[in-house]
Subunit: 242 residues, 2 copies
């Protein structure tokens, strides 16, 4: 059974304003919830249509009807479970190792995929400009497939962060140097830009190393790669060489 107030609270968490107010977010689907339960995230409550997740204490879970799951879910095809977790306190922003920085990424699927890539390539810190889509947006949480539990995500003034760092800063530009020919270090900041506009001119000023993925087609008409697939190739190059 889900009360009216619970439905109201849970659906409100689809909006950033209410996530901030309550310091809670939702995660859906067995795999994502499993990974979050196995990590440092603190569960508030778990709703499910069948009895799964034996390890969750009985006061923290409720079996609900499918019709109720439809009401609380942010998905068009709800999964068998939805969990409400506490938003963790921000951790210290580190500036060592390889760091990915996002300048105004707007698409939740792109942010989720980039978090998954950071996890695969051992990037522990992802630094986002304040305008970047919120990591606790249900679509982002979904797209990370649980990697959100292993990558620390920070929101900050990206320009100041870059200016204050002593690491070499790399940015991706259409007219950058061929990434295959560049020496790439183990430590550095890799900046990726907005889906439509690329890296903003304000951030561009702080970037010393301009990188590009060369096109290989004859026709050379493809406008650009999607930012998530470009991130995949850049991280592959950094890790291969670094």
């Amino acid at each position: 059974m889900v009360s009216k107030n619970q439905i109201k609270l849970i659906t409100s968490l689809q909006q950033k304003k209410y996530r901030n107010e309550h310091q809670l977010f939702i995660a859906e689907g067995v795999k994502v919830i499993q990974e979050l339960l196995a990590s440092n995230f603190v569960l508030e409550h778990l709703f499910m249509t069948e009895a799964i997740f034996d390890t969750v204490p009985v006061f923290q879970k409720t079996i609900v009807k499918e019709s109720d799951m439809k009401r609380i879910s942010a998905l068009s095809s709800p999964s068998s479970c939805l969990a409400v977790f506490k938003i963790p306190k921000p951790l210290q922003l580190e500036t060592k190792g390889l760091i990915v920085a996002l300048d105004d990424i707007r698409d939740p699927g792109n942010l989720g995929t980039i978090i998954r890539l950071c996890d695969w390539f051992g990037v522990k810190h992802l630094v986002c400009s304040s305008e970047t889509v919120d990591v606790y947006n249900p679509k982002v949480v979904q797209a990370t497939m649980g990697s959100i539990s292993r990558v620390t995500i920070h929101y900050t003034d990206l320009k100041k962060y870059i200016a204050a760092s002593s690491l070499p800063v790399f940015g991706t530009f259409m007219d950058g140097n061929n990434v295959y020919n560049e020496n790439l270090p183990k430590e550095g900041i890799l900046v990726l830009g907005n889906e439509a506009n690329g890296i903003s001119s304000d951030i561009e000023k702080g970037i010393q190393n301009r990188l590009a993925i060369p096109r290989f087609g004859d026709m050379q008409q493809t406008e650009s790669l999607n930012v998530a697939t470009a991130t995949a190739i850049f991280l592959s190059e950094f890790r291969r060489k670094g």
Copy 2:
């Protein structure tokens, strides 16, 4: 003005059955439609909420109200234009150069992104198993951002196609050889598998070269990369070395 019969026909094209019956598909958004108009695709009709696309003959276009656009669109936030194109006749299936083969890719966004990657990396032929999601699915057309006009997509019995080819065949497996250490040729077939199950055992038998992208994280828990981001990294490696 859009007639009831037009609305019925256009919305029916969201289903593969009716696309096959009418040999028509829909494309939405200025950029995608522009690219298709500039290519060999044959326009059937164009609907738009404002007068754009000056070059399209007057008999082939209709200005419609936003309320009508909402009715015919497959998108939750319709664009200002929707075009109906003819599905082209299948071209000869070639087996030279670098070819990407998809074994049962189900997600329209993944197929669209892979087509865009093929375009960027100069892969002209994409061969799909019969179970792979239909390329004329509106979500695929959308995700290709126009690249669908520059990559030829074939649906066939993938097992037979691989068996009949004389090119070296590469497949992606979790336990494959580190792709960074392998010599990769200019010509070959690169097989990518289903999102949940990978490459099927039937197809696996025809693959001589097993490749993998190594993980770099300490925790080594990320289950797998998304198939589209994995394709990005494999194509980058083939083109860098080939």
